[in-house]
Symmetry: C2
Subunit: 601 residues, 2 copies
């Protein structure tokens, strides 16, 4: 039964069909004093312990990664969200995001080590562990006495994580399992003390999860460090289990529950990965503008050239959008956890359900922000010109490190398809009513469009209408696709990918608008002039992506009159009454970044 | 006075305002027996001498680069276009492109060494040298007895190449110059025997070019090898000149002629760089599809997933488009050289003018193909999943190596702006009549559109009309911009960039269509089914880019009724009567690539 509170918080995926008021979203400007203090202490840590040692991280100094991880443990950063009774700080989900974000911009190596340990390495136990398991392992993990790793992937089982061949065989006395198999790409394998390992019992449909201590005398061997494109000081190894004995009580949750654990762990990993990419964007943008202000060609600081301004504006805008959407979702998760606790769930249960609820948003964020940091670093290189290609400047490492974010925690293809797939599933289950709104859009298409000129005098009046129309595009396209293909929709991957691009842009653009509107209302529009420009620029770009994907989809599944009608609808839904001059918007945004000589938002 | 022949060959930039018949373009399918033999022997060389040694190139084995360069010299590859009297093979420009292309896919390191030597390292002498200079240096360079390097860039002078601080001081007896200054990012510096160096005499407006032999006892010192993101075995060093004495007769062309030499050398470098990126795309696509056919997830070869098909189709299509446009332009250059020679120019003069004529096309190709290979390698990584991030597979090196192509030979920003800038200049000079056609488009906008349903039964009838309409978009946008901003257009970089994106897509899409049409006519449509699909897919994507950039531009400089009228025009110009189903096109293309287990075109 839903409580009053529950009704007020949007459910996962509902952003698509319900209007969100700007007052109802959380923004980085809403950080509490405690959160700000946490942020500042993490920034200070990053500036002191990580940034100055970039060269050592690049030189694959794995010991440094471990050392700094231990220091992060001393600071309490490894246990931010771990309940106090297990040695953590017991802070909320937003604080976890903040720590993840600000500790990550120094190097992708540390970011990965941190993420693998605190996220997928620790969370399976806090979320699914028995009291004994939690008592035994979590305090060590939360303080950095021990480090964790997550061993799901195998040579033959990557995206298809449930297909692993590692097996767990129960001993005759029923007291232990023997694990045999090969795990691959295991972050932190080199220095961790404990693995979360997934293995199959007999011919089970689903894998099972075990906590396995790293005892090299217990049939565990490690491969060499992998030679990687980026994140050079992140330890990534194969792990071989050969008759490794695990006490039966080290099984996490029940037999066959492993796949669910794996998916939920990744899920949280995804939104945290988005956070981890944010401060990197900020730093790349800052480094880039500082260089552009210094570097002169043709007797002009290159930051005065329109080509460079365009880049700076887009870099800043995407970062601002990423922040907006990430913290919106993070607070939804935090609130939902609180709500569930208030209604009687254990913290553990509440956390599990809270995060599960927003799996769609987590996938959206993972894809959007991992692509933004790649693009940001790419433009960073380009702004540096030849120097961008040099290992003596920080751009190329940022670019290489960014590349992994589109591959792990589920590839971006998998996450794109998941985001739409989960939404459709939620609709089927009745958790999100898509059918009603989709029907309404279909009806609207048949009707006569209104030719009234609406009143757009209020801030974002037209923009908010625009977002509402983009939602209609999604409903129109996805609705029609579900109807046409039914259960075969899964096979229409090009369509799913296009739909997810639409979905992603809607969420990102709406979050950006809402954050800005909220701030304009409380701090005054004048103070948010550039943020308003960014929100408009982001939306314009989003509309263009939606139009492209919408069109391609419609053409692919509709013909003749139906195609014409839907294309007309699309045209109507992506049409501005007053087009924003995005050339000017970019100029204004870039001027601000230039003037402040950093990412200033 | 124009000869008859001259009238028949399109001038540079004229593709925009004149229709080209498919019979009039040269395609890779038109390679002569000699050209095919050359191609095959280069492929054989690449397979034998470069590909198997990728690891050594990645491990920065500079000596290997030098050794293979010498072997390439033994094969005659370094002197393909060098006239026989200077020790070369005296082949045409198309052959040079072929060699450049097929020798480049093994590693960006060799590709860069080859390009720097044969292009910017040798061409300044063949194009501008006196008979004595040519006799002295070219035979050595053409055979690989000596290697050349090109020293233009300085710490303070990159894009603004004419601003270098290196100075050349005439000796009192007038017999020599003393060179003082610092050059940076000099490819081949480590193993070359000769530099093309640019330096300023007194307070000259323009720099002057010198041939300087690498005598380390003559005030020449080298910096350490740069640490670079990619092209690891390409030698890149700083070069310091301290009272280096050069005989006065080593000045190339006249005093102050250096900037022109620099620009023309880069110009040829650009189209060759495009060629150099083509076979890499082919190889990446082939490697990717082979992996995708092998790799199974969810009990399915991943090449069966729509998400992977989409990638394979776009990779193949862009490569095919790049080939089409590159060889179209290459043959134009070759023909123009021949025409000028026929009309009495020396080979040297003819070559110079021939290449200069197509500077716009060279910039277009440089930008388009360098971005395609980046995208191709990026998707290559993604298809490999986690393995794509590993140095044990060839994708990540391809991705890193590709990154330089967007920076050197003029950054892509500079080349984008140049392409439009040169076109406008040509129009001003009357070499290309843009004003007439632009006026015609303006008139058309005011008129009533025809509502006849045209006959699209012939192959590409609608597509060719579409290209004609895209040209109108360019004329409408650029025409209006020139009118609005006049000489201030240079300052409107966002606009120039948008216009150049339109220009680029027109050239690439048209070339792709024409190649395919030509082949369909002679080999039969049935044999070109997939090529037809690629031409349609490329065009569809091009239309979408043109629409986006056109819209953004129009909104930025037009308001009210004018904006509405131009946006209506735009809409008309990007509208298909029958939209192609690009989802299906991609499937068909991918099926072909999958089936052949390689890039098969
Ligand atoms: C540096 C690094 C660190 C890592 N750390 C860890 C770790 O700590 N623990 C851990 O368990 N794993 C880890 N991984 C593994 C990572 O999670 C996997 O690489 C990722 O899930 C992709 O799996 P894969 O590499 O097998 O690619 P594949 O699954 O083989 O994918 C190859 C391609 O096929 C596509 N594809 C696959 N299935 C489908 C489908 N159904 N439909 C459409 N497209 C599909 C993918 O999107 C991708 O483009 C790490 C990987 C790397 C590179
Ligand atoms: C690996 C490597 C090999 C090289 N090999 C050689 C070689 O053999 N010989 C040689 O002479 N040089 C060589 N170069 C140098 C190369 O040509 C320059 O790096 C390139 O021209 C860019 O110059 P820059 O690095 O000074 O960048 P900058 O000119 O400083 O450019 C920085 C940024 O500003 C932008 N910008 C600059 N001017 C403008 C403008 N007017 N309007 C808008 N945007 C602008 C650029 O597009 C870029 O984004 C090499 C470079 C590298 C990295």
């Amino acid at each position: 039964m839903e409580t009053q509170l529950e009704k007020e918080i949007l459910r996962g995926g509902q952003f698509l069909v319900k209007e969100t008021k700007c007052e109802d979203i959380f923004t980085p400007e809403d950080f509490s004093e405690e959160q700000k203090m946490m942020r500042d202490s993490v920034i200070e840590f990053n500036d002191r312990e990580i940034i100055p040692h970039r060269d050592r991280f690049e030189a694959k100094d794995y010991a440094l990664t471990e050392e700094v991880m231990r220091k992060a443990g001393d600071m309490g950063f490894l246990g931010v969200s771990v309940p106090e009774e297990y040695g953590g700080l017991g802070m909320g989900f937003v604080s976890t995001m903040i720590v993840c974000e600000y500790i990550s911009s120094g190097t992708g190596s540390f970011s990965t080590a941190f993420g693998a340990h605190t996220g997928i390495g620790t969370m399976p136990i806090t979320l699914y562990g028995t009291e004994e398991q939690k008592q035994k392992y979590v305090p060590r993990l939360a303080t950095g006495e021990w480090f964790g790793a997550y061993a799901l992937t195998e040579p033959g089982a990557g995206s298809d994580a449930n297909s692993g061949k590692t097996i767990a065989t129960l001993s005759e006395d029923g007291k232990s399992y023997k694990i045999n198999g090969q795990k691959m790409w295991i972050s932190n394998a080199g220095f961790c003390q404990m693995f979360i390992v997934f293995a199959r019992i007999e011919n089970d449909k689903n894998i099972t999860c075990f906590i396995i201590e790293k005892d090299l005398n217990n049939g565990i061997t490690l491969g060499e460090e992998e030679h990687k494109l980026g994140i050079h000081a992140s330890s990534t190894r194969q792990v071989f289990f050969s008759d490794t004995v695990v006490p039966a009580e080290n099984m996490l949750a029940g037999r066959g529950e492993g796949f669910k654990i794996a998916m939920n762990a990744l899920n949280i990993g995804r939104i945290k990965l988005a956070a981890a990419c944010l401060d990197s964007q900020r730093r790349v943008t800052t480094t880039a503008v500082q260089y552009a202000n210094e570097r002169k060609q043709f007797n002009t600081p290159i930051s005065d050239f329109g080509a460079i301004k365009l880049k700076l504006a887009e870099m800043a805008t995407n970062c601002y959008a990423g922040e907006s959407a990430s913290y919106r979702a993070a607070k939804n998760i935090e609130d939902r956890i609180a709500m569930r606790e208030a209604s009687g769930n254990s913290h553990q249960e509440a956390e599990l359900k809270g995060v599960e609820e927003y799996a769609i948003e987590c996938s959206i964020l993972k894809v959007a922000v991992s692509e933004d940091i790649q693009h940001c670093a790419d433009e960073g290189i380009q702004i540096f010109g030849g120097m961008g290609f040099s290992k003596d400047t920080p751009m190329e490492a940022a670019w290489r490190d960014a590349r992994i974010a589109r591959i792990y925690e589920g590839t971006n293809e998998i996450n794109r398809m998941l985001s739409v797939g989960m939404l459709v599933k939620k609709a089927m289950k009745g958790h999100v009513d898509l059918l009603g709104p989709a029907q309404a859009v279909a009806d609207e298409l048949m009707g006569i469009p209104s030719f009234e000129t609406p009143d757009y005098s209020e801030l974002f009046a037209e923009e908010k209408e625009m977002v509402a129309k983009l939602k209609k595009v999604f409903l129109m396209v996805a609705g029609a696709a579900v109807q046409k293909f039914g259960p075969d929709l899964d096979g229409q991957q090009q369509l799913l990918l296009a739909a997810s691009d639409i979905l992603i842009e809607i969420y990102m653009a709406e979050s950006t608008l809402l954050r800005t509107e909220k701030n304009a209302k409380r701090f005054g529009e004048a103070s948010q002039e550039i943020q308003i420009a960014m929100a408009k620029l982001y939306l314009y770009n989003a509309v263009s992506i939606v139009e492209k994907n919408g069109k391609e989809s419609i053409i692919s599944f509709a013909e003749g009159d139906e195609q014409r009608m839907m294309l007309m609808g699309l045209k109507r839904f992506v049409k501005y009454t007053n087009y924003p001059d995005i050339v000017d918007l970019r100029k204004a945004i870039a001027e601000k970044v230039k003037g402040e000589n950093k990412y200033p938002f």
